[in-house]
């Protein structure tokens, strides 16, 4: 129980840090009154604007008001439209999720088998090919890939709609673009994890006691190599949301990423803040979930959770 509380407490502290950071980072980035109203506005108009949004108060008061608002799920209003920032963001989230979730699934479904194949044929042609591909996948920026794909499939061949949501085929290009990075990441990770596990003494021991290569791979190597994928997935989730911003823009999808870019350039603090907080909290929760799920998979961590006298003995022996 202790262990759960500890993880949970740590996640809460991280979230608090995130909230504080996002407030002060945005506060430090410039005065929204000047930016929104433009340089030619009269001082009186600026003062009215500041009054209206509480920008004339000392920073610490603004911070408290901000925290108080968050407690009531009030993320403030958009400077531009006057709508609730939270509602604006929530409205866009399904679009982003509809890109990110299939991307994660596709990345795992293709990346992991590619990594396994690569590790099993270490040093051979398949391996080198896979490594080269994943380096290419990691190094080509997704906006470039998106634009190239659009040029080829929409402009030249006319197979797919260039932008926006038309029907399910509209998913093909953005998801494929996003997935190149994901597949490459998973492939590389799986390969190196598997190669490492295959070099452990336990594999040689298994071999020496007569287990066939197939059983060794299935029962020993893969479970050990793939467990860390949970963490990778939790971390990758954040990356995908980031990459999605670029891809959404390139393909004209109205997701959170596109909203973020619009809001940053317009200094729409409340909206940027809401996106930062929601993305951040999602990532922290994903990591928490990953941490907790290890308890079910790895008996060593399960023992850390459930106080055990055996654990104590191992601790003093090592």
């Amino acid at each position: 129980m202790n262990w759960y509380l500890f993880r949970l407490g740590r996640a809460c502290i991280t979230i608090l840090l995130l909230l504080t950071f996002s407030f002060f980072a945005l506060a430090a980035s410039g005065d929204p009154a000047q930016i929104l109203l433009g340089p030619d506005t009269s001082q009186a108009a600026i003062d009215v604007f500041r009054e209206k949004w509480g920008l004339n108060l000392p920073l610490w008061q603004q911070f408290l008001i901000y925290l108080d608002g968050l407690l009531h799920m009030n993320f403030g209003l958009s400077y531009r439209s006057g709508e609730s920032a939270l509602a604006l963001v929530l409205d866009r989230i399904p679009v982003t999720l509809s890109l990110v979730l299939p991307t994660i699934l596709l990345s795992i479904a293709l990346g992991v088998p590619l990594g396994i194949l690569s590790a099993m044929h270490r040093g051979h042609l398949i391996d080198r090919l896979a490594i080269t591909l994943s380096v290419v996948g990691l190094s080509v920026p997704s906006f470039l890939l998106g634009v190239l794909a659009m040029y080829l499939f929409s402009v030249k061949l006319g197979w797919l709609a260039p932008s926006g949501y038309v029907n399910w085929t509209s998913y093909i290009m953005p998801v494929a673009t996003l997935s190149t990075v994901g597949i490459a990441t998973y492939a590389r990770f799986t390969r190196s994890a598997l190669v490492e596990v295959l070099s452990r003494p336990m594999i040689e021991t298994a071999r020496a006691s007569g287990l066939s290569e197939g059983i060794i791979h299935r029962a020993h190597a893969l479970p050990n190599a793939l467990t860390p994928l949970i963490t990778i997935t939790a971390l990758e989730f954040g990356h995908f949301v980031t990459y999605a911003a670029v891809v959404e823009n390139a393909f004209g999808w109205q997701g959170t990423g596109a909203l973020l870019i619009e809001s940053v350039s317009a200094r729409d603090f409340a909206v940027v803040q809401a996106i930062m907080i929601i993305t951040g909290v999602t990532m922290i929760l994903a990591n928490l979930l990953a941490d907790l799920s290890y308890g079910f998979i790895d008996p060593r961590i399960a023992d850390l959770r459930h106080r055990s006298s055996r654990r104590l003995r191992t601790a003093c022996e090592s």
């Binding site: 202790n2 262990w3 040689e204 023992d303 106080r307 055990s308």
Partner: protein, 529 residues
């Protein structure tokens, strides 16, 4: 079975026969090719290895280059176990599943055979919940699961405590007899080989130096190298000459009592060390232990892994903070929470792994000079001169001074760390398993060096080891620890001859022993059991 083998450069012309139920010991230093040969038999060498040779196994002939054929033998015919039991098992898998992968039969009898008195207890355990000895027993059960006719054991007890080692050796011997299974047992420890094996092969640089029955090889060794190995085995000091050279009678007759006469250089008074475990509980690693080390005295600190001996030593130099107790050096009380630089000069620590203790990028002589740089002693020329002098003192060749640690052997590296510890002229030296990772002949030389230095500088040495034979050889007094407490203390000779605690008796009884050495080379061994 018969085996003749040859592989690229690690091995040359090796041949031996092994009968069912027979146990053959393969002895040699690291790099002698013993592990390579075993892996060649089991077909476990990497594909890049060039292996030539023939093996006749149960009437059938196999080429050792035929990895596929050898792979088909593994499990039902040949199985192998390795040195590090903790990493031999899958951390995600329970004992039950480990065995279920290998046999459809019940795991109970296998675990009983491997020496578990109550197999039900460990069935659902995971490797991290078990001790090293238990893990090795499970590994043995896994190897036996498909009833192999030959078990190859590559230093399976080297990483284990003596008492645990004794239990496993006994089990292996019993299994060989019960099942008529042959065992190839690789070890660097002649005494272990003598205790277990019918036949012994001594290997060096990939070739067989000597082979024969265990008794003949160890009591009437023909090869010089075998004699050298036997002479290098640590023995009780009261009767043994210095290990490496045949020396003058005066050294043999060195009275052991003189050294303990000096006044205490290091006093550990009622030391306790407590840790907080990951789940938040308090764990007492050391409880109320008092140890004195006199000037010119070598005090041995013995105990199994987890007994708190290293923790105590680390508390002495301030690497861990004791929760209670007082440390004093040369009569002054030392509080490491507010250290003075001069204290650090007076006490030095030598660790087990010299490779880890040296900076891989620094040249030896510079690293040995470093303590002088830190304490700002002398000018640059003097520091260099002192460093060189210490390196000469530890018998390191001056062609090695400018080298980096990677191009030195393990023994040379340990000499360098000893030289480094000595540059600041410490009064107290702590050796934490400092010879445990070294081959026997090299270990012998380092032990002699320590004895020399002790005599020369009246060093007080706290010598930590799990190896009783080393302790018996080098120490004037011995302190036995168990579960964080001091359980027995006494003069080495007395303690080994007449231990009062049953635990100490078990430790001494578990110690593998060589046969009494041939009188022509060594004086008769003191009966110490």
């Amino acid at each position: 079975m018969a085996f003749t083998g040859q592989s690229s450069s690690a091995l040359r012309d090796i041949a031996f026969d092994l009968m069912p139920g027979g146990i053959i010991g393969i002895v040699g230093e690291s790099g002698s090719g013993k592990s390579v040969m075993c892996r060649a038999i089991a077909g476990l060498l990497p594909p890049s290895a060039l292996v030539q040779g023939q093996m006749n196994f149960e009437g059938q002939s196999y080429r050792l280059s035929d990895q596929r054929a050898l792979a088909s033998l593994r499990g039902h015919r040949i199985a192998m176990i390795f040195q590090d039991p903790m990493s031999a098992l899958d951390p995600l898998m329970s004992v039950k599943r480990h065995l279920a992968l290998r046999t459809s039969g019940g795991p109970g009898p296998l675990l009983t055979m491997a020496g578990f008195s109550d197999p039900g207890k460990v069935l659902d355990s995971y490797p991290h919940q078990m001790s090293g000895g238990q893990c090795q027993r499970v590994a043995i059960a896994c190897a036996l699961a498909r009833e192999p006719r030959l078990l190859i054991a590559d230093e399976p007890t080297t990483a284990l405590d003596v008492t645990v080692q004794a239990g496993i050796l006994k089990r292996l011997k019993a299994i060989a007899a019960e099942r008529g299974m042959a065992i190839i047992f690789v070890t660097h420890d002649l005494a272990v080989a003598y205790q277990l094996c019918n036949q012994i092969i001594v290997m060096r640089n990939g070739a067989v130096v000597e082979a024969g029955s265990a008794d003949t090889v160890l009591t009437e060794p023909r090869a010089d190298y075998t004699r050298h190995l036997i002479a290098s085995m640590p023995r009780p000091r009261s009767s043994a000459p210095e290990l490496t050279q045949q020396i003058s009678p005066s050294a043999v007759l060195r009275p052991i009592a003189t050294s303990s006469a000096g006044h205490p250089a290091l006093c550990l008074d009622n030391i306790s060390v407590a840790y907080r475990t990951p789940d938040g509980r308090r764990f007492d690693a050391v409880r109320n232990v008092s140890v004195d080390v006199g000037e010119g005295e070598i005090v041995g600190l013995v105990g199994e892994s987890g007994s708190g001996k290293s923790t105590l030593a680390k508390a002495a130099v301030g690497l861990v903070t004791p929760s209670a107790g007082r440390i004093s050096m040369n009569g002054r009380v030392v509080d490491w929470s507010t250290p003075e630089p001069s204290w650090r000069r007076e006490i030095q620590y030598i660790f087990q792994d010299p490779r880890g203790a040296l900076d891989p990028l620094g040249r030896i002589v510079h690293q040995v000079r470093q303590p002088l740089d830190i304490h700002r002693l002398g000018d640059k020329g003097e520091r260099e001169a002192v460093a060189r002098a210490r390196l000469f003192e530890t018998h390191l060749d001056d062609t090695l001074f400018k080298r980096k640690p990677a191009s030195l052997s393990g023994g040379q590296r340990q000499r360098a760390t000893i030289a480094r510890a000595l540059t600041v002229r410490p009064r107290v030296l702590i050796c934490d398993e400092s010879v445990s990772a070294l081959d026997v002949p090299i270990q012998a030389k380092i032990l002699d060096l320590l004895l020399d230095l002790r005599d020369k500088y009246a060093l007080a040495v706290l010598f930590i080891s799990h190896d009783l034979s080393v302790i018996q050889h080098i120490c004037d007094r011995v302190v036995v620890m168990r579960h964080g407490t001091l359980i027995e203390e006494g003069q080495t000779f007395e303690l080994f001859r007449n231990p009062t605690e049953s635990y100490t008796r078990d430790l001494i009884a578990a110690l593998p022993r060589l046969p009494d050495a041939p009188p022509s080379h060594l004086p008769e061994q003191e009966a110490a059991v």
